[in-house]
């Protein structure tokens, strides 16, 4: 008896069926981090969900009437009310005695900025909703304008570098800490470059009866200025430099942080992206900004304890745990 070795990816996929709530064929750009992250989230939740989606790329590229890429019940109402629409859906299901989970999807604009009040209200009132923020660090849907999630010194169309400016002047808002300060049961960050970590965190959030929050770092090749096939590399570097720490917070307290096996200098992450290209000149102010960004990363590594403690780097509780299903460091 011989065993057939499967090589084609499509064949492999058939052997490993997962629920597909977001179908292919939608209109996202090549290498879109948000599309991948949304697909991963829905794969992990399964079909028994209702989704409220904020205005943004995800809404636009998945639902050009009369087409839809969604195989789960899905509603888009407005930009800034997703937290409240989800709260209403959850209240209705509760009144009907149903256990279907409500998901709220928003970008960083809809979450950090314009929809922040509705999100805060939803968290404070304790609605049983998993709010997922697809964080690509700017208003990509309207053509790359700065949001309060845009990292310091990044170039956007409303934070352009020039004689008087070095990109965005302000810091990236620490949304997960603000969300966690509502003392909700679970708030976490994730990166699209660590898929099984996303799945694990989604499953964890789904198991909780109460408001939960997941911020997923998603590269936008168009807005960040890198090739579509570099999205995963770029996203991983954000984590490996300490600029985007992967953490979990329970009831407002830090519950875990994913240690970094090899800490990379921030320049490795920044130089892959056109939005930071003005930092790579001989100007003193450019060097100063690079040092500033390195200091932000160092600060994250310090406060979240991201330095891997284990002796064997390759077998530590680091990134490679993801390849084993992300169960080790939970």
């Amino acid at each position: 008896m011989t065993t057939k070795i499967i090589t084609a990816i499509s064949e492999l996929r058939k052997k490993q069926p997962r629920f597909r709530g977001l179908e292919s064929g939608h209109r996202a750009c090549l290498g879109c981090g948000e599309a991948l992250a949304a697909r991963l989230v829905i794969e992990a939740t399964g079909p028994d969900v209702l989704v409220a989606n904020a205005t943004g790329c995800l809404e636009i590229f998945t639902t050009p009437w009369p087409e839809s890429a969604w195989r789960v019940p899905w509603i888009h109402s407005l930009f800034e009310n997703t937290g409240a629409v989800a709260a209403g859906m959850e209240s209705a299901l509760k009144a009907q005695g149903k256990s279907t989970k409500v998901l709220a999807f928003g970008g960083d604009g809809g979450t950090f900025d314009i929809g922040f009040q509705a999100l805060s209200g939803m968290l404070e009132r304790g609605h049983n909703v998993l709010y997922v923020c697809f964080d690509n660090e700017a208003y990509m849907n309207t053509g790359i304008q700065r949001s309060s999630s845009t990292p310091h010194a990044a170039m956007t169309t409303t934070s352009p570098p020039g004689k008087e400016r070095m990109g965005k002047r302000h810091l990236k808002k620490d949304i997960v800490s603000i969300v966690a300060a509502h003392h909700i049961p679970y708030a976490a960050t994730a990166s699209v470059s660590y898929p099984s970590d996303i799945r694990k965190k989604v499953r964890r959030a789904l198991a909780i009866d109460g408001p939960t929050f997941l911020q997923i770092h998603c590269p936008c090749p168009l807005g960040w200025g890198h090739e579509g096939d570099e999205s995963i590399t770029v996203a991983r570097l954000a984590v490996q430099t300490g600029l985007f720490p992967l953490i979990e917070l329970e009831r407002g307290g830090l519950a875990s942080a994913m240690p970094i096996r090899h800490i990379r200098p921030v320049t490795e992450y920044l130089q892959m992206q056109q939005r930071f290209r003005h930092l790579f000149t001989d100007e003193a102010r450019a060097k100063e900004e690079l040092e500033h960004i390195q200091a932000i990363a160092d600060h994250n590594i310090e406060i979240y304890g991201l330095r891997g403690e284990c002796k064997d780097a390759f077998d530590s509780e680091g990134m490679d745990t993801v390849r084993r299903g992300g169960m080790r460091w939970a």
């Binding site: 639902t63 789960v72 019940p73």
Partner: protein, 390 residues
């Protein structure tokens, strides 16, 4: 059985009789007593529902939208600034054709800040695509609230029940509160065809290209026009059940042969009714009360105005830089008559200014004036203004 109830309490009881499953609201004067009364009904276990105390009117409207879409009958109420803050959601609810009922306790809009009654708030969102029904008294507000659910759920259009703030919301009247049995026989359990359900996943609120947008707007417009039949039949069926009418699309009272009519909207009808009794005989005047402002019952109004020489439109809102709102629409409607009446349009009672009984002789006196078709705020006191503003 008649009960002495404040307008707000009466509306709260009417809402409870409709068995809503989700209520979301944010307090604002003069709507506050409605949500307070509902909160108490919930706290006392007299109303089983999810009461969501939201952080803004914007979220109140969004929560009831989510609830209705997820298959529950829902309710909210607001006033004034609250309705303006909701405005974006109101358009969205109507465009998505979601059946919801909201009470608007009519109040003036800032600035200058005024907590008192006029109808600038609901008039400002007249193009949101909601059905708007205006109540003349608290019994009408109770009955209209219940009818509104049936109209909304049959037409898949949201209904705004407008009642004058303070004048109605804070006034104690004898109210015949219907029984639960009556309401249950009138209003079937909530059903929404496009309900979000994992067993039948639908995508709602999609992006629409120019290829489809005008068609969506057309069917929305058509649905509102067609809703006139539902508004009438809901009132007729309610009459058959309770013996009370709430005024269909509009009502006409007064002597048939009258050639002068006053068209009003809301609670000022009561004042005019009383004023009419004090009018010396020989000056026959009709009163037309517009209950449905959206849809605007053009044909019914035309029929009501047939044979009139003068139509006086008295309203509690206007469009600055233009003039009356109801007046302009009435003018457009009666212009289609072979012998249209002259239309005289006035605003009064803005920001809660009392409309006394002598409003009627004042209105009628204008008919004798040379520029009697010029829109104006009839009770303005020009003496209080600098010369340049008069």
């Amino acid at each position: 059985m008649l009960q002495a109830l404040e307008g707000s309490q009466a509306v709260a009881q009417a809402v409870a009789l409709c068995r809503p499953q989700v209520i979301a609201a944010y307090p604002i004067t003069p709507q506050t007593h409605i949500v307070e009364s509902i909160s108490k009904l919930v706290a006392d276990g007299k109303l089983q529902c999810e009461f969501v105390s939201v952080e803004s009117e914007f979220s109140a409207a969004s929560v009831v939208l989510g609830a209705a879409i997820a298959g529950s009958r829902a309710y909210t109420a607001t006033s004034s600034q609250g309705i303006l803050l909701m405005a974006e959601v109101l358009f969205n609810i109507a465009g998505m054709r979601v059946p919801l009922v909201m009470t608007c306790a009519n109040r003036a809009i800032s600035s200058p800040l005024s907590i008192w009654n006029d109808q600038q708030d609901s008039m400002s969102v007249r193009d949101a695509g909601w059905i708007q029904l205006y109540c003349a008294d608290n019994q009408e507000a109770v009955d209209t609230t219940i009818q509104a659910y049936r109209i909304a759920e049959r037409t898949e259009l949201p209904v705004m029940v407008c009642m004058d703030g303070f004048i109605l919301t804070h006034t104690l009247e004898g109210i015949d509160v219907p029984t639960q049995k009556q309401v249950d026989s009138f209003l079937p359990p909530y059903q929404f065809a496009r309900q979000l359900d994992p067993r039948n996943p639908l995508t709602l609120g999609t992006l629409v290209s120019p290829d489809f947008y005008p068609e969506a707007r057309h069917s929305h417009h058509q649905a509102l026009l067609n809703a006139q039949a539902e508004i009438v039949s809901a009132d007729q069926d309610w009459f058959a059940l309770t013996g009370r009418k709430s005024g269909g699309l509009l009502t006409i009272e007064g002597p048939e042969q009258a050639t002068v009519a006053i068209l009003t909207i809301g609670s000022v009808l009561g004042t005019l009714r009383a004023a009419l009794e004090e009018l010396p005989p020989g000056q026959p005047v009709k009163l037309i009360k517009l209950r449905s402002f959206r849809p605007f019952p053009k044909e019914t109004l035309k029929a009501a105005c047939k044979g009139l020489k003068d139509l006086i439109v008295l309203e509690k809102a206007f469009s600055p830089g233009s003039g009356g709102i109801v007046g302009l629409e009435a003018l457009a409607a009666v212009a289609e008559l072979p012998q249209p009446p002259r239309v005289h349009n006035f605003a009064a009672g803005l920001g809660g200014r009392d409309i006394p009984l002598d409003i009627l002789p004042r209105l009628l006196a204008v008919l004798e004036e040379p520029d009697n078709n010029r829109f104006r705020i009839i009770d303005v006191d020009l003496e209080k203004l600098p010369l340049a503003d008069r």
